[in-house]
Amino acid sequence: MAGTADLDSAMATAGEPISEEEALQRLRQSEDQSHQYYAAWWLGRMRSRHPETVPLLQAALRRRQPRAVSSGVEENAVARNAARALGKLGDPQAIPDLLATLEDEDDGLREAAARALGELRAREAVSPICARLASDQAGQPLPNSLRLREPCEALIEALGDIGVASPDVVDAIQPFAIHERPLIRSAAARALFQLTQDPRWGHSLIELLEHPQLQVRRSALMDLGAVGWRPALEPIRDTLAENSLKLIALRGLVERGQAPPDTETVLRAMDDLL
C-alpha cells in the first residue's frame, strides 16, 4: 500500500532531479513560489550541508504573512516547508526563527515549527509550547473547522521528543491523555511514555492499536515505534494495518527499545512482514 513513505519517495523519484546549486537558486529567487516550495522540500529531504542552505531557509521562514485563504502555493506554504526542512537539517542556528514562528497566527505554521523544534531537541521551546497547551480552549475545535485551536498533536509530540521530564511538562500533557480525539490521546501517551517510562502509557498505545479507525491504528503504530517499547511486539504484529507501517514501528523497537524480547526476536518478526 502506498503509505506516506512511498509518497515521499515517489516525489523524490518523480520530481525533476535537480542539483543542490539549482535548489539554492530556486529558493533565492522570489518570483515563483512553487519553485521555492519544491526547493525547500528538496534541501531538507537531501539533507543539504551547503553553508547557504540554513540561512536561505531561515529567510523563507521570515517571509511568512497573515494566512491567505487562497489555495495553491503561497508564502506560508514555502515557510512551512522551510520549517520542516530546518527540523531535518539539525542546525541549532534555526531555533530562534522557529521559536518566533511558534507564535504565528497561522496554526499550520505553528504546527510545522513545533515539529521542527522537537526534531532539534530545542529545550528553549519547552516553556512556550507548554504555555500554548495550557492556553484557553487549546484542545477545542476552531469554529467551523476540524482543526483544534492549537496544533496539539505536534506540540505534545515535540515535548516528548525534547525530553525535559519536569512535573510541569508532565502536567501540561496529562489532560490530553483523556482528550476526545484518539489521535491526541495517542500523542499524549507517546510523550508521557517518553518522559516517564511508565508502562501504563505503553498499554494505552496498545489499546489504540485496536481502534476501529485505520488512521488511529496507524498513528499508534508510529507512536509505539517512536517510544520503542518492546512488550508491544506481538500487538504490533497483529494490528490490522499495512506491513510498511508495522516494519517502521518494529524498527523503532529494535533501535530504541530494550530486551525483553531480545533484538533477534524483533528482527525475526520483521522478516515475516517483508
Binding site: M1, A2, G3, A5, D6, S9, A10, A12, T13, A14, L240, E242, N243, S244, L247, I248, R251, V254, E255, T263, E264, L267, M270, D271, L274
Partner: protein, 235 residues
Amino acid sequence: MNKTGADGLSLVRPFIRAVERADSADGLQKAAENLAGALAALAKADHQGEPHCDPETWDVIDCLLQVLGFNNPGAAVAAVDGLIAIGPPAVEPLLGSLDGHNYGARAWAVRALAGIGDPRGLAVLEEALAEDIGPSVRRAAARGLGQLRLESLPQAERSAIWQRCLTGLLAGAADPEWVVRYAVVVSLEQLLPHPLAAEQRVRGLAQLEGLAAPASEDTLVVRLRARLALDNLSG
C-alpha cells in the same frame, strides 16, 4: 488441491459469491479475507504436489485478481494471501494481469509472485526491485528474489537462476529506502547457502559486510540484521 480439490473448491464457491456481491469497502475486505482463509485452509489440508487446475480454480484465481484492482488494501492483502495459497497455478494468470494500467493492482501482483516463489516470476521481480516507484513493492520483490522455489528444476538451470537473483539483490543493496535494503539482507542470507560460484558467494558476503558497517550503512536496524545474517552464515 489435488484430486480432492474439486470438492474443496465447491466449498469455496459461497466465498467467491460473497466477494462478487460485496457492496461496501468493509464488506469486500471481510469477504476477501474469508475467501483467502478458506483457500489457505484448503491448501493446508491437501497440499501435495501441483494443485489440480480445474475450471473452478480458474474462477477463484480470476476473482482474486479482480480484487487486486479494487483499490481496497485490506481486501487486496487477503487476495494476495489467497493467490499465494493457490501457488503455481496462479502464476500465469498473474503474469497476464501485469499489462494493465492499474499501478495498485500491479503492485499487489508483484507481491503475490514474490510470495509464490515460482521461477516464472523471476523477470518481474528483477524489474520491480530495480525500477518500481513504490518502496513496499521493491521490498516485496527483494524478498521474493531470496525465496524462489527451484526444487523441480535441473541443477544447471537452478544455478543460473540463483546467479540472477544474486545480481539483482547486489544492485538492490544500494536502494535509497532502508526497508528495501533490509529485505535484500534477509534474501542474501537465504540465497548464499545455495551452490553458487565461489566468487559470487564472496561478493554476496562482501555486500553483507558493507550493510553491517556504519561507514557504508546509516540505518542501525539494517546493520544489526546484516550482522545477524553474517553470524548465521558462518555458524
